[in-house]
């Protein structure tokens, strides 16, 4: 993408106030839970108390006979539907069939006139189970003779997104494997000047969004219409075409505002179940989960990583090897892709000549794991960035200097077959170091750390859009990108307003209705600014081309005599605005010009990844050695974003992601006792609060216009999470000399480690 000079921008690169702000803070914004259809009924779900059991029988007659109950859904009466879905692996039944695979799995659903009636009927469903032995950790699941979660093989989902074969159901509990290898690892470790080796753990986490899952489905002769809190409506649509055996044109997903996602809203969740309820009850049905139920729906993969890294006598990293076991829970969901991405991201942002990474995603009888902000990178960066500090310490180098000497350089092909590195990590690290006064020794009981990460981001580049320039020069953008709070519905019109030279206020977004808005693969992997941004830019330019031709016709001149200026065209003294061109062309003060763009895996986007999502974070922590309590006193984020279309929103993403990473570093963790999740409520599951925020925060954006997005932009929004857990562990080491390789670093864990040191 040829980069325009930064100083020329009128609307882009300015922190215009976010579009949805006023509606959201005044409570006027519409979410799915606000939507009510005529004659709508409500569903509630009966969940399995067992982690692994055969369903012997389900008797729902008593519940179905209760007043106000319209239907009870079980797997017994869904003839005509395909029950198994999954964009990666089709292993997930929309409701438990024959057996349950985790405590909390939906076994039946009641549809009734209101939620209370549905809920009160649940206890009248009689389910008889025959309990099976449960496997709860990858280690247990891979033991010889371990109970199998899935006895049969599955097809790969149509949009699987991973390269490897489907391992699921092939006689073991391995859901997916991913292997990466270059150079000669064994030889490199043999000649290394120093090696560190260790085992690291990143916990199960819940990507807490304020809005739990919610969906409304209506099934009619026209097909299936679903309102959902889904992040990726087009991916959900695809799953539903297979459930209902309907053409794409008869499945419609409508997504209003989504109340936060952080990974948890990506891909299909409750939509097949609510659609089946509507199909059975023959009326529109709403299903909204509580937070506690949402916590029984998706979580992050936890990861146990064995890793070793080697340097030569000059302090150059020469090899890294890792073996990673990810706990994917009962169903594949998006974990096969997380598995593959985690493998790639274990390399880190370093130029390493010898690499071997082997990752196994393993089924267990726990809540299914799926996408989580950072997408595998958070899990493995905990290991990788801890180990960078450990290695620096071992060879007597400053960890910051050690990173400077080893990070990938701009344009370097540090990852075979992938896009050359498109960031400037040295510059990013220098900014983080300055923000933290790196050379300054911190007070006693304090410690600092700087970390970084890069991810092969952007997912699969398939995005299309339409922009409609109206006869009054106002513009409607049709975009399939969902607004999850990240600000895409502010950033997208900024780009169009910039291109067309029309006021930002006159550009509006029509979003996320698969019947109206053109295909966009997903709103995730930090891809929207880059891919949808590039698409609306190209669509704007295509509309301009059309209007230039229209102007040429009106002025009876050649198109190359026309110069495009802000908001219209010029030819000598003659000036025409877009409005004048369209009105005069059609002969009415009405009509429109339609610009369109398709982005696919070609041209600028032919080489993966779409971009390297790169960021640094730095912290200074204090440690209360008596209690083990860590407080983050100072935080610095550096987002290597190419160009921030909206700097305030980009910074908002960075501090949000860093805070989320801080949560996992300090206290966030889903805890299982045996087969039961014991802190699966927001009373017990601790997320960061304002009182946890550091007193000093510095946010920096590095804007070298080196991405393939509009004006050289690249995505952000996930990367600042990745290096935060390891930062906290490294800063603790620097403060106390104690190394902890399992996050979160709860006060008790820190206290125990400190006690062992003495």
């Amino acid at each position: 993408m040829s980069a325009e000079k930064k100083r020329d921008f009128q609307i882009v690169n300015h922190s215009v106030p976010r579009r949805d702000g006023p509606a959201k803070v005044t409570g006027k914004a519409v979410y799915v839970s606000d939507v009510k259809l005529p004659a709508m009924a409500y569903a509630k779900v009966l969940r399995s108390p067992y982690a692994h059991a055969k369903i012997v029988s389900i008797d729902s007659a008593k519940a179905a006979a209760r007043p106000g109950v319209y239907a009870v859904l079980t797997s017994n009466d869904l003839t005509g539907l395909n029950l198994y879905y999954g964009h990666a692996v089709k292993d997930h039944p929309l409701i438990a069939v024959d057996k349950v695979r985790y405590a909390g799995e939906p076994v039946a659903a009641v549809v009734a006139q209101d939620e209370r009636t549905a809920f009160e009927a649940l206890e009248f469903i009689d389910v008889k189970y025959d309990e099976l032995k449960a496997v709860l950790t990858p280690k247990e699941a891979l033991d010889k003779g371990a109970a199998l979660l899935h006895e049969r093989t599955f097809e790969a989902g149509a949009l699987r997104g991973f390269e490897g074969e489907v391992a699921a159901g092939r006689g073991s509990n391995i859901c997916q494997e991913s292997h990466l290898k270059w150079g000669d690892v064994e030889a490199a470790f043999a000649r290394a000047a120093a090696v560190v080796e260790g085992e690291y753990y990143f916990p199960m986490a819940y990507a807490y969004a304020m809005e739990p899952y919610v969906a409304i489905a209506e099934v009619s002769d026209n097909g299936v219409t679903i309102y959902s809190s889904a992040q990726h409506p087009f991916m959900v649509r695809h799953d539903l075409t297979t459930v209902f055996k309907l053409p794409v044109s008869q499945i419609r997903l409508i997504v209003p505002f989504v109340g936060g996602g952080y990974g948890s809203k990506s891909y299909t969740k409750i939509e097949p179940l609510v659609a089946a309820c509507a199909w059975k009850a023959q009326r529109p049905v709403k299903l909204q989960l509580s937070v506690e139920e949402a916590m029984l729906t998706t979580r992050s993969d936890d990861a146990l990583t064995w890793m070793r890294t080697a340097v030569d006598a000059h302090g150059k990293i020469i090899a890294r090897q890792a073996r990673i076991y990810m706990n994917t829970g009962a169903y594949a969901e998006n974990s096969p892709l997380v598995c593959e991405k985690a493998t790639n991201r274990t390399v880190g942002p370093y130029s390493i000549p010898n690499v071997q990474i082997d990752t196994y995603s393993v089924y267990t009888n726990t809540v299914p794991a799926s996408s989580y902000r950072g997408f595998g990178c958070a899990q493995v960066t905990m290991a990788g960035e801890s180990q960078i500090d450990e290695l620096a310490t071992k060879i007597g180098k400053d960890p910051y200097e050690f990173r400077l000497a080893n990070v990938a350089k701009p344009g370097e092909e540090f990852f075979p077959k992938m896009r050359p590195f498109d960031g400037t990590l040295k510059q990013d690290l220098e900014i983080a170091a300055k923000a933290l006064d790196w050379q300054q020794t911190p007070p006693k009981g304090h410690g600092k750390s700087i970390g970084c990460s890069t991810s092969d981001a952007g997912a699969y580049p398939l995005t299309s859009t339409v922009i409609r320039v109206h006869a009054d020069s106002s513009v409607s953008i049709l975009t399939g990108s969902t607004e999850l709070g990240q600000g895409s519905h502010t950033v997208i019109p900024q780009i169009v307003a910039e291109e067309l030279g029309v006021p930002f206020e006159k550009v509006r977004v029509v979003a996320s209705d698969t019947a109206i808005t053109p295909y966009d693969r997903s709103t995730g992997a930090s891809r929207t600014t880059t891919l949808m941004g590039r698409a609306v830019l190209e669509a704007s330019r295509e509309a301009i081309e059309q209007m230039v031709r229209m102007a040429a016709e009106l002025l009876k001149i050649k198109t190359d005599a026309i110069e495009v200026v802000r908001g219209g065209v010029r030819c000598g003294e003659a000036r025409l605005t877009w409005s004048e061109i369209i009105s005069r062309y059609y002969g009415l003060p009405d009509g429109e010009v339609i610009g369109r763009a398709y982005i696919r895996k070609a041209g600028d986007f032919s080489k993966p990844p779409v971009f390297w999502e790169t960021a640094c974070t730095g912290v200074e922590i204090s440690v209360d050695e008596e209690t083990g309590l860590i407080r983050v006193e100072k935080l610095a984020t550096v987002g290597d974003v190419g160009l921030a279309i909206n700097p305030a929103l980009a910074e908002g993403q960075d501090i949000g992601a860093a805070t989320m990473g801080m949560g996992v570093g300090l206290f966030e963790e889903l805890v299982y006792e045996g087969p039961q999740l014991v802190n699966g409520s927001i009373l017990d599951y601790r997320v960061p609060r304002f009182s946890d925020m550091p007193r000093q925060v510095e946010m920096h954006l590095v804007e070298n216009q080196d991405g393939v997005g509009p004006y050289g932009a690249k995505g952000g929004g996930e990367a600042s999470l990745n290096s935060m857990p390891s930062n906290i562990a490294n800063a603790l080491y620097n403060a106390t000399g104690v190394r902890i390789r399992r996050v979160p670093l709860t006060p008790e864990k820190v206290w125990r480690a400190l006690k062992e040191r003495q």
């Binding site: 509630k44 209370r116 309590l629 206290f667 802190n679 009373l683 017990d684 006060p747 008790e748």
Partner: protein, 291 residues
């Protein structure tokens, strides 16, 4: 959190009426004040009642007053009203400060002192501090009135010694003739504290502690004190300071902490030592009349 099951609310106009309703409904009924804990448990389907007897409608039950050298806090006084009461801020700043850190402002604006004590959640801040302040519980039932010590009122986790028809009407806290110093500290990572520790010291003069009361809460099913610990906390200040680890050990033995999501028993025993010292330092820095 699920939709609430159907139930009926009965708004009592006087204590006697509420007591009668409770007697009538038996196991199917429960007294309802702020509801911040009760309704939450009902929404999680952990508790089910067909009838709730609302006592917030009883006039005067939320009164905070000073009578005969005793502070009376009516049982339906909210945490927020206690936190902001000029009377309490003047005479018992430690109570106002403890209340300021109960849950969050939404809970404090709705939740009541009486509801908190009678729900007997093991992590109650007020139960811990009030036991240290020698507060008494005034109770009224169909057979008349009686007064209970705080550790008599709270029988265990989610359990009081009140009869089915008995209602906690007020908490009475005596002012002290002697200068008194107090501190309440808690250590909290999750929604519920890992530990709450209250220390009340009665001073003879600047250097001598005449009597002490130390209570640890949250670590076990109910707030706990220890005669042995309190004996070690009385005497010349420098001697007490040296005895703090022994006092903490005695208190920890009496409390017998349990392992749970907030921490292991071992960690909690350690924290009792840390926070007893911190409370001691805090209390002696604070010049107040009654704690």
């Amino acid at each position: 959190m699920m939709p609430l099951r159907r139930f009926r609310i009965h708004q009592a106009r006087e204590i006697k009426e509420a007591a009668e309703m409770l007697a009538q409904f038996g196991d199917k009924g429960r007294l309802y004040a702020g509801g911040t804990e009760l309704l939450l448990a009902m929404k999680h389907d952990l508790l089910r009642y067909e009838h709730l007897v609302d006592v917030k409608t009883i006039p005067g039950l939320d009164k905070i007053e000073l009578k005969n050298s005793t502070l009376h806090i009516g049982s339906t006084a909210t945490h927020r009203s206690i936190e902001n009461s000029p009377l309490i801020r003047e005479h018992f700043p430690v109570i106002a400060e403890m209340e300021r850190h109960v849950a969050n402002v939404r809970v404090r604006a709705t939740g009541t002192l009486g509801g908190n004590l009678c729900f007997a959640e093991p992590h109650s801040d007020p139960a811990t501090l009030l036991l240290a302040l020698r507060a008494k519980a005034r109770v009224q039932g169909s057979k008349g009135e009686r007064t209970l010590e705080m550790d008599e009122l709270v029988a265990g986790a989610y359990e009081t010694s009140l009869a089915a028809d008995e209602i906690l009407t007020a908490v009475a806290i005596p002012l002290s003739a002697k200068p008194r110093r107090a501190a309440y500290l808690k250590f909290q990572i999750h929604e519920r504290p890992t530990l709450g520790l209250a220390l009340v010291l009665e001073l003879d003069d600047g250097q001598n502690i005449k009597a002490a009361r130390a209570v640890v809460g949250s670590v076990s099913p109910k707030p706990c004190r220890s005669d042995k610990a309190e004996a070690l906390l009385a005497g010349p200040r420098d001697k007490v300071e040296k005895q703090l680890p022994h006092a903490a050990k005695a208190l920890a033995e009496a409390a017998d902490p349990v392992d749970d999501l907030e921490g292991s028993a071992e960690y909690k025993r350690h924290l009792i030592g840390v926070f007893l010292r911190r409370a001691f330092d805090r209390a002696l820095q604070r010049p107040t009349a009654h704690g």
